[in-house]
């Protein structure tokens, strides 16, 4: 009897401690009350008998910097929120482990094969405008540059969509990218540190259009019942952003991390994405009705990922062209 009590006293707390904790680094808006984080945490914990802990670390690039600073001591098991512009840089660090299983049911606009990164959502960059104020919109960067429309964009040196835009123009125009930027410079009202500043300024009426995503109007439509925002479709094709997750080599919860990466492509994860992250699910999961009225552009040509050196060159070209 004594032994039984003794064992029970130890086992009870021990039982709850034994549940593993999976630490996932992600970006700020993912973990906010309106982001996908809370719902995904609930859904995953329901089936894993573990604790899922999201740690927000700025944005994708800041996350990579943080992992490099932490080195071996990082507590991260999984990183969620890198994108195709950072994938090659991330891969070169050698801190990510190959996938245990090939993700199933992917339905991206482009073919996807990668042994390290699992895509969890995707979207196209696009210029968003207020359709009650603007009736004629340009159908290309050329037309935009020729118009007297004002745009507010993000700085590629401090913002992920800003970097995407620089890479978009580079992919569409190659060696002429600098020329396009120079012609665009009188359309650019200003360049902000991040997406929030730019989008806030656009909503205040500081510019006719803002660099955002094709799905931004869906947010206003679904969450605010406001159909006044639209995205412009460009004939060059649009920059495709694919957001990915990966497991760290140093993870002490490898099996659990593999389980989470597999969970990403299930409906329990994918169904949360559209109305919280306002992006398209990486699998063919259903999207809400409001998404149906969004533009569906083609991806701009060229490779999906970019090397560290090419990325730096594109940013430098952007700075140089707009500083003229």
């Amino acid at each position: 009897m004594k032994n039984f009590l003794f064992a029970a006293a130890f086992c009870l707390p021990f039982g709850s401690v034994a549940a593993e904790t999976l630490t996932v680094y992600t970006y700020d808006s993912f973990v906010s009350d309106w982001g996908p984080g809370p719902q995904i945490k609930t859904a995953f914990e329901a089936e894993c008998d573990c604790t899922l802990e999201f740690v927000s670390a700025g944005d994708g690039a800041a996350m990579l910097a943080r992992l490099r600073l932490e080195g071996e001591r990082t507590e991260a098991d999984v990183v969620l929120g890198l994108d195709n512009s950072l994938m090659e840089q991330a891969r070169d660090l050698g801190i990510f482990a190959p996938l245990a299983a090939t993700p199933e049911g992917l339905a991206l606009p482009v073919a996807w094969e990668d042994d390290t990164f699992v895509p969890y959502d995707w979207g196209y960059l696009a210029f968003v405008y207020d359709n009650t104020r603007l009736t004629e919109v340009p159908d290309s960067f050329e037309a935009l540059a020729a118009s007297d429309l004002s745009i507010v964009i993000q700085d590629p040196r401090s913002s992920t969509p800003g970097l995407g835009l620089a890479l978009w123009v580079k992919a569409a125009y190659g060696d002429d990218a600098a020329g396009i930027w120079q012609r665009l410079s009188d359309n650019v009202v200003t360049v902000t540190k991040g997406w929030s500043e730019a989008y806030g300024m656009f909503l205040e009426g500081e510019a006719d259009m803002v660099l955002s995503y094709t799905t931004s109007p869906a947010y206003h439509l679904i969450a605010e019942d406001d159909a006044s925002k639209s995205a412009v479709q460009f004939s060059e094709g649009h920059y495709l952003q694919v957001e990915v997750a990966a497991k760290l080599v140093s993870s002490e919860h490898g099996a659990l991390a593999d389980g989470f990466l597999a969970f990403i492509t299930t409906d329990a994860f994918q169904n949360v994405i559209p109305e919280t992250n306002w992006m398209y699910p990486a699998t063919g999961a259903a999207v809400p009705e409001g998404f149906g009225s969004m533009i569906t552009p083609a991806p701009v040509g060229g490779a999906l990922t970019i090397s560290d050196a090419d990325r730096k060159a594109a940013v430098e070209e952007w700075v140089h062209a707009l500083s003229q």
Partner: protein
């Protein structure tokens, strides 16, 4: 052989040196840590335009802010009017706005679809285009004109009212008054204000980008951010941080060279009364006060209006974020207060006081990203930086407030020493009793102002917490940015209002407490 300076307490030296060590660690260790960890890299010639623009905008911002602050501070110093106390308090408000909130507030007035453009449109003029250097200066003047005004106002208020009576009695002409009061006050206070504002603007970058109109308006701070975030080029970040330190050092040396503490002697603390009854100066002062009030208040009102709408959409995490922000602000304020008093006393009594002060001022020229990243590198081998996120945030916020507090407190402590040092020494007033009975009551206004600034600055600061942001810990600024990142602009405006109101409330409590019922 010269005048002997008695340390005011046996603890002056040990406490001062301890504070100095904290400063030295914060200025030097992060840069050192970055250099040690750096693999390859370094700055390229591409950074030159950013350096040029940084110096240009920071110098102009400082000069314009202080130049405009002169008539405003003078008007506030010599006029009594209804709401004067409130206006002096409100001058603390812009300084403590998070940059994105300030930018949106300014744009509501000065933007292409702001109030001024709307009025211009009525008379058929095109919208205002403030983007570019103009916009950067507008924002920096909005932030710093009030700060400069408060710093100059302290100078004018140190002139004993007996002097003004004398001037009134002698019926001194404006020019004579200018030479007698204004020049010494400005020589005492203006270099300090110029220096602080120059350094603050040097490390500004979100505002510079948002209103600068393009990559031409890039600052060193942006290059540091880019190096740390995108390139992971620690060497380059460290080198850029050193460039900032060198500019900070040069600016501080200039300010020290031209600055000269005003020496008016002590008065009997009689309340100030204006004896000048001439009409002209009165009208001019009135105009200055009204314009300044509009300039400061209109963007604040815009923020208020937007925030009130957002109050309906306040998120559930608000209270928790408030508690965290408030706790961090209090801790960092206490720390900053202790550090700055200890350092100021050491500076006052040490033969190398000038050099010590110069060194401490360098904290203003350090990049919060560099301090944050440096501390991260230093702490990481021993402990999880996440676990220490809040103490580190409090420490860094305290470090950034320290130089400003020092610049405000030091002249006040000098004045006490000069006017009452011998009396106190003769009476054996030292240590805690000296602080309680002499120093505290004498420097109370400055102490209140400086403490209020430190508290509000820490409350509204986002910078460092993002580097360390632990799970489940949210500060008000972080909550605001996260909301914005999720399209929740209205809720974000509501949180911004709560943030600004609580920062300002803290500032007001300390500042008002310092100024007491008078002034």
């Amino acid at each position: 052989m010269g005048a002997r300076v008695e340390p005011v307490s046996r603890l002056t030296k040990p406490l001062g040196i301890a504070a100095l060590i904290v400063v030295a660690v914060l200025v030097l260790a992060p840069v050192g840590a970055l250099l040690l960890r750096a693999e390859a890299g370094g700055v390229s010639a591409a950074v030159w335009p950013a350096i040029r623009f940084t110096l240009l905008q920071a110098s102009l911002s400082a000069l314009i802010s202080v130049a405009l602050a002169v008539p405003l501070a003078k008007a506030l110093a010599r006029r009594a009017f209804f709401g004067r106390g409130l206006m002096i308090s409100l001058l603390g408000a812009p300084f403590l706005l998070p940059s994105i909130v300030a930018v949106l507030g300014l744009l509501a007035i000065w933007g292409r679809s702001g109030g001024v453009s709307d009025i211009l449109a009525l008379v058929g003029l095109g919208p205002l285009d403030i983007y570019g250097l103009n916009g950067v200066l507008l924002a920096h003047v909005f932030f710093n004109l009030p700060l400069a005004t408060r710093m100059l106002l302290q100078g004018w208020q140190a002139v004993p009212s007996e002097h003004f009576r004398l001037a009134a009695q002698l019926d001194l002409a404006p020019r004579a008054r200018f030479a007698l009061f204004d020049i010494p006050v400005l020589r005492g206070a203006a270099p300090s204000a110029l220096l602080v504002i120059f350094m603050l603007c040097m490390s500004s970058f979100a505002v510079v980008l948002a209103l600068g109109g393009g990559p031409k308006a890039s600052t060193i701070e942006l290059a540091i951010y880019q190096a740390l975030r995108f390139e992971f080029d620690l060497a380059s970040a460290a080198q850029l941080a050193m460039v900032q330190l060198v500019f900070g050092l040069a600016a501080a040396a200039l300010a020290f060279h031209f600055g000269k503490a005003a020496q008016f002697g002590g008065g009997l603390g009689a309340p100030f009364q204006n004896w000048d009854k001439r009409k002209g100066p009165k009208l001019l002062d009135g105009a200055v006060l009204v314009l300044a009030a509009l300039f400061v208040a209109l963007p604040l009102l815009a923020i208020l209006a937007k925030g009130l709408v957002g109050l309906a959409a306040l998120p559930s995490g608000l209270w928790g974020a408030f508690v965290v922000s408030f706790g961090v602000a209090m801790a960092s304020t206490l720390l900053a207060l202790g550090l700055s008093l200890a350092l100021a006393q050491l500076i006052e009594t040490s033969k190398r006081g000038g050099a010590i002060e110069l060194f401490a001022l360098l904290l203003l020229a350090t990049s919060p990203f560099v301090i944050g990243t440096g501390l991260f590198i230093i702490i990481n081998p021993f402990a999880s930086p996440f676990a220490l996120a809040l103490p580190i945030t409090a420490l860094i916020n305290a470090a950034l407030a320290l130089p400003i507090m020092l610049r405000i407190l030091r002249p006040a402590l000098s004045r006490v020493q000069q006017d009452y040092g011998r009396l106190a020494a003769g009476l054996g007033l030292s240590g805690w009793a000296r602080f309680r009975l002499l120093t505290f009551p004498q420097i109370r206004p400055e102490l209140g102002f400086a403490t209020g600034l430190a508290a509000a600055l820490s409350m509204g600061d986002l910078g460092v917490i993002t580097l360390f942001a632990p799970p489940d810990v949210e500060t008000l600024p972080l909550l605001m940015y996260r909301l914005m990142g999720s399209y929740q602009m209205e809720a974000a405006a509501g949180v911004a209002l709560v943030l600004v109101a609580s920062s300002f409330g803290l500032f007001y409590l300390f500042d008002k407490g310092g100024r007491g019922a008078g002034v």
